[in-house]
């Protein structure tokens, strides 16, 4: 009896079935997701693809830039003259402050030299412009127009005229990604300007105010208090304004008060930002006093040993 194949010969070769392909690519995707979240091995691949996408992104930005340019060209004369008056007045107002600032800074520098303290303030600051806000609805990010080309490094603080906007989290060859202080995974060590109480400001994601967590209900804090960076993290230079306490609920029925804050910087508005270089290398964490503890324990043991001969 001749052998009759069960399957008819394939007329059109189409490779593996869609389900097989989905399984294959799905597995790769899940592996990529895992590697990206856990190990961050894929930054190189990301950079290569980002350079490839860059021309396309620039092309897409052109219409918006053109509209902005044309709009700026036709700003009315009145608006400009009004601006001029305001700016002149401001410059006079600031002059007094600025002059005293120079003197204070000189004095400060001398005192610091005397005390042999490290220079706390960052040396270089780079002005950048916002390219676009992040499209990921799960994260609060924006992209600025300078990256490795301007020697921007991940971890540098980003500020605008009013306060801290966020932190550079990823640097591409021609742009950089800034995570905003409102992002859920972002935290800023702060200090209350009025009372000096230290805390950490946690972002809460889109549409929700950042909050101070783990503050005792009795903490010295009031609505309207300004939070400034404490500089303890070695990332943010100390003394930058971050947020203002908006609502304060001490009677939550829990151990901690609920403190919501409003960012002072135009986190979702500012177009021009400043990347502030890292301050002097972060102070390394001192060794855990393990040896001392051990000594204590041994001492106790010895004592106990001595007590029971």
């Amino acid at each position: 009896m001749p052998y009759i194949p069960v399957e008819p010969p394939p007329f059109f070769r189409r490779g593996p079935s869609p389900l097989a392909r989905l399984a294959f690519f799905g597995c790769i995707s899940i592996a990529l997701l895992f590697v990206d979240t856990r190990y961050h091995y894929l930054e190189g691949l990301r950079h290569v693809a980002a350079v490839g996408l860059y021309p396309l992104q620039r092309v897409v930005q052109m219409p918006g830039e053109a509209i902005g340019w044309v709009g700026g060209y036709f700003v009315s004369l009145r608006e400009l003259s009004e601006d001029n008056v305001v700016l002149k007045r401001q410059s006079v107002e600031h002059a007094a402050v600025a002059q005293s600032y120079a003197a204070t800074q000189d004095e400060n520098a001398r005192l610091r030299a005397l005390l042999d303290m490290r220079n706390r303030f960052a040396t270089g600051a780079k002005a950048v412009e916002v390219l676009y806000t992040g499209r990921d609805p799960f994260a609060q990010k924006l992209f600025v127009d300078k990256g490795m080309d301007a020697d921007i490094q991940a971890g540098e603080a980003v500020i605008d005229a009013d306060g801290v906007v966020g932190q550079v989290t990823r640097v591409y060859p021609y742009m950089a990604e800034v995570t905003l202080v409102t992002d859920k995974d972002h935290a800023v060590p702060v200090q209350i300007q009025r009372s000096g109480v230290r805390s950490v400001l946690y972002g809460s994601g889109a549409g929700r105010p950042p909050e101070l967590r783990f503050m005792a209900p009795s903490a010295d804090i009031q609505v309207g208090d300004v939070l400034v960076t404490s500089g303890l993290d070695g990332t943010y230079p100390p003394g930058l304004a971050v947020a203002r306490v908006a609502t304060l609920d001490r009677e939550t029925g829990q151990i901690f008060a609920r403190i919501a804050c409003t960012p002072l910087a135009g986190v979702d508005r500012s177009e021009h930002l400043l990347v502030v270089g890292r301050q002097s290398p972060a102070i390394t964490r001192p060794e855990e006093p393990a040896a001392q503890d051990q000594g204590k324990k041994m001492g106790r043991a010895k004592r106990r040993g001595g007590a029971t001969p």
Binding site: P18, I28, D36, G64, Y132, R135, D136, F138, E177, G207
Partner: protein, 180 residues
């Protein structure tokens, strides 16, 4: 006298016409255009309304030309989108690969309906795609997005007839103008 192009009844490829074969470069060009539209620097309301153009165009080609565009192409474009959006690597890739598979699975069924009924089915597919992204992100520890997260798939579904007519334009027979 006016000569209007004959778009025919609002369904893909009416019974009286046979579409010409698609040119591969046209598929590539439309996918690049969709990528560009997705990379547009939008913010505020425009960003909340913006449909996922890549998902839409991929869906169209997966339904119309499964021999050219399938799971592999969708996955590759998803990776590019992950880089453009600076999201987790593989998030869009997984969602688009799934979308391509679903399109391949449902394509014969979807094509039997007139365009506006196709749009309803496309809404479900796009929502599944967005839901998969949501699932991946929530497993990864992201907070729930705002309610506006459901808007883009619906806008995408509303755009489905437009996308179909536009992308089918070069394939329609040239001499089928109707004289009024």
């Amino acid at each position: 006298m006016m000569v209007l192009p004959n778009i025919g009844p609002l369904s893909t490829a009416g019974p009286d016409e046979i579409l010409r074969p698609v040119r591969p470069w046209f598929i590539v060009a439309t996918l690049i255009a969709a990528l560009a539209l997705n990379l547009m620097p939008l913010s505020g309301v425009a960003l909340a309304l913006r449909p996922d153009f890549i998902a839409l165009v991929l869906l169209y080609w997966c339904i119309q030309e499964p021999r050219y565009v399938g799971v592999g192409v969708a996955w590759t474009i998803g990776l590019l989108m992950d880089v453009g959006d600076a999201t987790l690597f593989g998030q869009h890739a997984l969602a688009y690969a799934f979308l391509a598979y679903a399109a391949e699975y449902f394509r014969r069924r979807v094509l039997r309906f007139p365009l506006w009924q196709q749009a309803a089915q496309v809404a479900v597919l796009l929502a599944l795609c967005a839901g998969l992204v949501l699932l991946v992100r929530i497993v990864g520890g992201a907070p729930l997005p705002r309610w506006t997260y459901v808007v883009p798939p619906l806008v995408g579904a509303l755009l489905w007839p437009v996308v179909t007519v536009l992308l089918q334009w070069p394939q329609r027979p040239q001499h089928s103008g109707v004289e009024l």
